[in-house]
């Protein structure tokens, strides 16, 4: 078999174009998925829906890039129902599988105690009552993430205010827990701004009685 320089160049160009189209499609998929989870949430249905939308967006972006790189009309092949359905299914399936694996990873991170990031006022209330948030009504959130800086914990857990302490604790009563779930990325409201999210959160509407293990001042 005779391999010419022309065929080498042709193969390299094709691979290069496919790589560019793949990279753009991947970037569009990731951006759409991030936006989808920021708006819809990080629960099972929201993750699968975001995966389906990002799959479609990535597939269509890939077609556009291929058209551009091969000199065809930009809109050629766009909007084919079969392609859209297939991309949506693949995106949803991958997102669902990814979330399941992530939940296993989050559960595995539990090392026998939880953490909560709190203010001076809440610390005094916990010492006084033995209950998170002093036993006040409403949802109580906590995590298995161990951050050392106030800035990182505020961003990753999307906290409304900057905490001063991290407390590590064990739960000694039996509240009905929800989670683990990824904290939703915050792009709303515009004030006070962006939070990266994607920390781990558990929550309950029941009072949480605890055994305090450690109090750490955040950097």
């Amino acid at each position: 078999m005779k391999i010419t320089l022309d065929s080498h160049i042709s193969i390299s160009c094709t691979v290069g174009k496919a790589a560019v189209a793949g990279a753009v499609a991947g970037a569009v998929g990731v951006a759409t998925f991030g936006l989808g989870t920021a708006v819809l949430g990080t629960g099972a249905a929201a993750t699968v829906a975001s995966g389906a939308v990002s799959g479609v967006a990535a597939g269509q972006a890939s077609i556009v890039m291929e058209n551009i790189l091969t000199g065809q009309e930009v809109t050629a092949g766009l909007g084919e129902p079969g392609d859209i359905a297939q991309d949506a299914f693949v995106g949803a399936a991958l997102a669902g599988v990814g979330r399941s694996i992530d939940i296993v990873r989050m559960r595995a991170r539990y090392s026998g105690y939880y953490s909560r990031y709190i203010s001076e006022g809440e610390l005094q209330a916990i010492k006084r009552t033995g209950l998170l948030r002093g036993g006040r009504s409403g949802e109580t959130y906590f995590t298995t993430d161990h951050f050392v800086t106030a800035k990182e914990s505020t961003s990753r857990l999307a906290l409304p205010d900057v905490p001063r302490y991290r407390i590590d604790f064990q739960i000694v009563n039996h509240p009905r827990l929800s989670g683990p779930q990824r904290v939703q990325l915050w792009i709303w409201p515009l004030r006070p701004g962006f939070r990266a999210g994607f920390g781990v959160e558990y929550w309950t509407a029941d009072p949480v009685k605890i055994r305090l293990l450690e109090i750490k001042i955040l950097e």
């Binding site: 819809l40 629960g43 209330a125």
Partner: protein, 79 residues
């Protein structure tokens, strides 16, 4: 049409407060009895609005439109 609600501010701890007021049909705006206005967004995402329509209860991130301060809380539909 507005829906009467009780709003419990849970975070930050020092901002704890129980308020009464009204939310829009899709609860994205809360007007309290004392005249404050909050923008709302479901803490667990827009799909969590299903919980609001089914159970009349929702965890929300709340931004005070006047001061810009950010809070987290729970809104509960009042009968």
């Amino acid at each position: 049409m507005a829906t009467r609600v009780k709003a419990i501010v849970t975070e930050p701890f020092d901002a704890y407060e129980i308020m009464k007021g009204e939310v829009t049909d899709i609860p994205l705006l809360l007007k309290t009895e004392d005249g404050r206005v909050f923008s709302l967004f479901p803490h667990h995402g827009l799909l969590d609005l299903i919980n609001w329509f089914r159970k009349g209860r929702l965890v929300v991130d709340m931004a005070d439109k006047r001061s810009g301060s950010l809070l987290r809380g729970t809104i509960e539909r009042l009968q």
